[in-house]
Symmetry: C2
């Protein structure tokens, strides 16, 4: 156990893992850039993470793509972030890409940032969703509302994962909606082309259609 934790405990490796948090596969070079260390050093880190089965490797031509080994790794990283949030506040310089992340991003497979928290706030205020400390529920009204939006809750319910749970947002420091429901909402927003992934990383852009749709649907102040 200490072994796994110390792997995550190195800043460079933590950056690498965070960069992979959205589930996509990145090349060793991209990860070196994300980690802020040289390619040689990164290579060593990746080898260690791979040996410990935290990341998967797939070779493609002269590139090597790395991705998280599974959702259990993502969950672990999330839980560590949650604990990190409860610690003493730390100085953090703000950058442009940070601002993008703060605005809207994916959190493994659901929406986070101002966007994610805004949607959660709306659904909670209208009592479409009730969130507790560890789990949550969708009310009847909420189910009707979401199905009207085109979110298929029956599929979400059939998948045997936590149906609805709060996920503490590390920028907003307030919960947004995770679990199968959160993933279903995110999927639907992608389908509607309301949001799009930026080229690299977890940041999202809101399309002009999305702006209109999100404001109407969730009463957001963007």
């Amino acid at each position: 156990m200490a072994e796994v934790a110390s792997l995550v405990g190195d800043p460079a490796r933590a950056n690498i893992l965070c960069a992979l948090l959205d589930g996509r596969a990145l090349t060793a070079g991209e990860l070196a850039f994300a980690a802020g260390v040289s390619p040689q050093t990164t290579s060593g880190h990746l080898a260690k993470l791979h040996d410990a089965r935290l990341i998967d490797l797939c070779k493609q031509g002269r590139h090597r793509y790395y991705r998280l080994a599974g959702s259990h790794v993502g969950q672990m990283l999330e839980s560590i972030m949650t604990v990190a949030l409860t610690g003493p506040p730390r100085f953090q310089p703000r950058t442009k890409s940070d601002d993008q992340l703060r605005h809207a991003r994916t959190c493994y497979d659901h929406l986070a940032g101002e966007l994610g928290v805004g949607i959660a706030d709306c659904l909670i205020e209208r009592e479409h969703v009730i969130l507790g400390n560890e789990a949550g529920e969708v009310t009847e009204n909420g189910a009707a509302f979401l199905s009207k939006l085109g979110v298929d809750l029956s599929v979400a319910r059939a998948r045997r994962r936590v149906f609805c749970r709060p996920c503490v947002d590390w920028t907003e420091r307030r919960p947004h909606i995770g679990g199968a429901v959160g993933a279903a909402i995110a999927t639907r927003c992608f389908e509607l082309k309301w949001i799009e992934r930026l080229r690299d990383g977890r940041a999202l852009t809101i399309t002009s259609n999305g702006r209109r749709g999100l404001i109407e649907t969730f009463d957001l102040a963007l």
Copy 2:
């Protein structure tokens, strides 16, 4: 985030945190013994963990009692263990206290070890409980069965935490039942005096009454 992970990443500190996993408060001296390092070293570790708000401190006379700062820390440790299990197998010398732990122990607030897995197996085989990867359900038959045993599911359901979830057992490498249901079952077993805590640590003994009751109720092979 790397900071928190690196705190857990030191073997001595990992031992300390594991020793606190059952939620009880232990003195600095006991933790030094559990960690296998000198009291001075332990004191330094405890100070770091306390600064990072991973553990709480309460002074009592000339003793200082430490405990986990909250369930979120326990959940983090659990998720790290889960990932550690998926890694390459490691050599582990077996000791007597290990055997006790393997047999029956608490996992934060529910039952684990052979006992926990045995109960889970029984409930699954009889289709009293259905376990998925991330969550689980109690069937109607299961609810009837548990309520006859004296487990109050309505209380468990009212608490807004994950109702029923699989928790991978690090000795048996198979799931046992966690969440509110797991906690309720454990509580009931304590009430019935079927199990008792050993003096220190998370290990449990099964009383003679417990032996009879558990075999009858869950069809265990103890």
